[in-house]
């Protein structure tokens, strides 16, 4: 005859075990529910933050010609005119680094006429196509058409050309 030893539990011990199983199962259920809640909530938060940033960029791109750093103030009746000279000169001003919060791209491009040099430098300005003031990685951009105005030495007068302002906002992951 095999020497078996059968464990004998009392009714009380059995109930405690049952209760512990139920408690552990309940806690696991709560934990799963919490994980679901947190993942859904934070997924929503990310979307909310992105839509906030997008809204801010859209508003800023609409109002960019009115900001003191770009406003063309020689004429009093041109709301869409942008001072190209100031835009070019602000590019290398260290004080303005980080001034436009949450903006990942701020670029001013000439639409017409186009020149052979793409990015403006102190050698090529004003015969160049674009001035990039801010450029970070991972952005979604929006554009607004503007008039790029400056004093033109060949004309000896003020000259305005068609251009656009491109602004991008930084994604939450980016």
């Amino acid at each position: 005859m095999a020497n078996w030893q059968i464990a004998r539990y009392s009714k009380g011990q059995f109930k405690i075990q049952q209760m512990v199983f139920v408690l552990v199962a309940t806690l696991i259920l709560f934990a799963i529910a919490a994980v679901f809640f947190v993942s859904i909530r934070f997924g929503g938060l990310q979307t909310d933050v992105e839509s906030q940033r997008k809204a801010e960029v859209l508003e800023q791109v609409r109002k960019i010609t009115g900001t003191p750093e770009f406003i063309w103030s020689n004429w009093e009746d041109c709301a869409s005119c942008l001072d190209l000279d100031k835009a070019f000169l602000i590019k290398n001003r260290t004080a303005y680094q980080g001034f436009w919060k949450d903006i990942a791209l701020l670029k001013i491009s000439r639409v017409y006429p186009q020149y052979s040099t793409e990015e403006c430098t102190s050698q090529s300005y004003p015969r160049c196509n674009s001035i990039t003031i801010i450029e970070k990685e991972g952005y979604e951009s929006y554009e607004s058409f503007v008039s790029l105005c400056r004093y033109d030495e060949t004309d000896g007068d003020i000259r305005c050309e068609l251009g656009k302002v491109i602004m991008g906002f930084e994604g939450v992951d980016g």
Binding site: G12, E56, K63, G66, S73, K86, K101
Partner: protein, 317 residues
Amino acid sequence: MNRKGVEFAFSWIFAIIAGAVILISAVYITTRLVGTERRVGDTFIASELNTILNPIETNLEDSKYSTIDFVDETRVFNDCSTAGTFGRQQISTASKLGIGKEFGEQSVRKSSYNKYIFSREIEETSSKKMHAIVRPLFIPFKVGDLTMLYGKEYCFVNPTSDIEDLVIDLSANGVQNIGINITAELSSCPEESTTVCFNQVGCEINVNTQARIVSKYDFDLYYDGDSLMLTAIFADPLVYECQIKRIMGRAGELAVLYAKKSQYVQGSGCSNNLQGDLQAFALATSVNSSREFVQNVIPASENLEDRNGQLANCKIF
């Protein structure tokens, strides 16, 4: 011996203790989650407030008015810092939920460098509304938009004709309630409103248009022009002085930018000789108070405006 007693099995005691622990934990976690959610909500309100203040900024307009509607009664915290070149504007909110009488915890602050909000340090909504008036500031070129944010009613006693015209204009001839009443007598002011006297005393805020001083809470705030007069009326003294320093920081940077532009266009054959004046103006913008601003910056600004105005095609601003 008859020993009668209530039989209380161990399993029952265990179930009661475990149940109590679970219930208390659930209540605690729920309370914390509600608090966190409320703070997240308030942070979004602060962020949205920051965003919706963008469209009411001016371009070529003289001034703009807008009402901001909140879902609950809300406090807006206005923090101004002068650190760095441009200083920093921070706004945060705390809302009052229908079930509680107290305002929630202050939300996370939303920062910006190009906004200037003039309000009390803690501004409260009235009937879940807040008023915003935005006016551009030119000294002598555009330096920024001044946003006046207020929830409670104001009563202007005998204001100047320019201020009266502005209030009438913004309220669309009285059709829209912009939270500002105009009266000839102090006694005619509504009880709840903050009273503002022009060239007389006896109000909570007194404006002396000759000396260009707004007096409130034992502080004298110096201003120049109607835009800054209004901002001094609506802002707490510390907020006003801080924002003046911030605006001057930006004015100084813009003056340097215009000086560079002046040099560049001069090289292109557009003579203006404004560099010296612009550099002098940039130096004058290093001020520590509104008094210094009126004493040092305004004369330099007027000189600069005259010099620029004399230029024909070669105007720098």
